[in-house]
């Protein structure tokens, strides 16, 4: 069992080609391996192997389709700031589980500073937001909840800026 302790390093060193592959795939994951290879200066087999490795190592988490929010009737984005009344471990777990299970919640972070949690929520309309809000405040006791509504989405990307080194 001693070998079980040997772990893949949390941050595998990525070379310049891996970083290029990540940049390309974050923009367009529908390209063929050969096409990606061309763009990063590799033939298809080594390019394919690198992609497999990036997936196996969890650098690439998944491949997904991005959908236009407005075209499916989800017109409202809301940033919600939450201050908690209770800072116990049990409270946090209950809150985290309840909020994570809500499909309207796209992002959910525990914060430093004056605000304890930040959420980005997407809903169809104000009525749907009201339903969400009531669900949120009835899940666990909260001290303060502030909802800020987006008027215009100016930029929204999923592609992280891959650092040069």
């Amino acid at each position: 069992m001693s070998d079980a302790a040997i772990q893949i390093p949390e941050n595998r060193r990525l070379d310049a080609i891996d970083r290029k592959i990540l940049t390309v795939l974050q923009e367009d994951a529908s390209l063929s391996v050969a096409e990606i290879g061309d763009r990063v200066g590799l033939s298809s087999t080594p390019c394919w192997k690198r992609i497999q490795r990036l997936e196996a190592d969890g650098v690439i988490l998944r491949r997904v389709a991005l959908v236009d929010q407005n075209k499916i009737g989800l017109g409202i984005s809301v940033f919600v700031s939450v201050e908690s009344a209770d800072h116990s471990e049990a409270w946090l777990r209950k809150f985290a589980d309840a909020v994570s299970a809500m499909p309207e919640v796209m992002e959910f972070y525990r914060m430093a500073g004056d605000v304890d949690y930040m959420l980005r929520v997407v809903v169809a309309d104000m009525q749907a937001y009201d339903v969400f809000y009531k669900k949120l405040i009835s899940a666990v006791p909260l001290k303060n909840v502030t909802s800020r509504f987006a008027m215009e989405k100016i930029k929204s990307v999923t592609a992280l800026p891959v650092p040069a080194a």
Copy 2:
């Protein structure tokens, strides 16, 4: 030229199968068309045609790979609230262009209420955040900028909850 005015409706009506396809593809876009067809109760040709149509209509915007932020050394997420000093059209355009061009900015919304803009920013470390912050405040005049730092990412998804109808 009269036909040029005929437009595809902004919100094409999506039936239950289209919605299922979107739900599946938002979770895993690496599935084969045949596999997606199985899950939504279609053989591969009609399933393929529907996917093509959803792409042509812009319901599906693109297919991308999602990358683990921490595995590429981007450890810090920051929510930035901005109040503007100037509400002219020219100021807005300059601000929108400058901020949109910054690769650290993942999301950027114009808001209703006390905060004028909300940004979600991703950087490697505090030094990188400082670089970003200076870039931001030097781009255009701002009245107030508040940075809130995330301690823990509890949930982050790209899959929108496709409404039942």
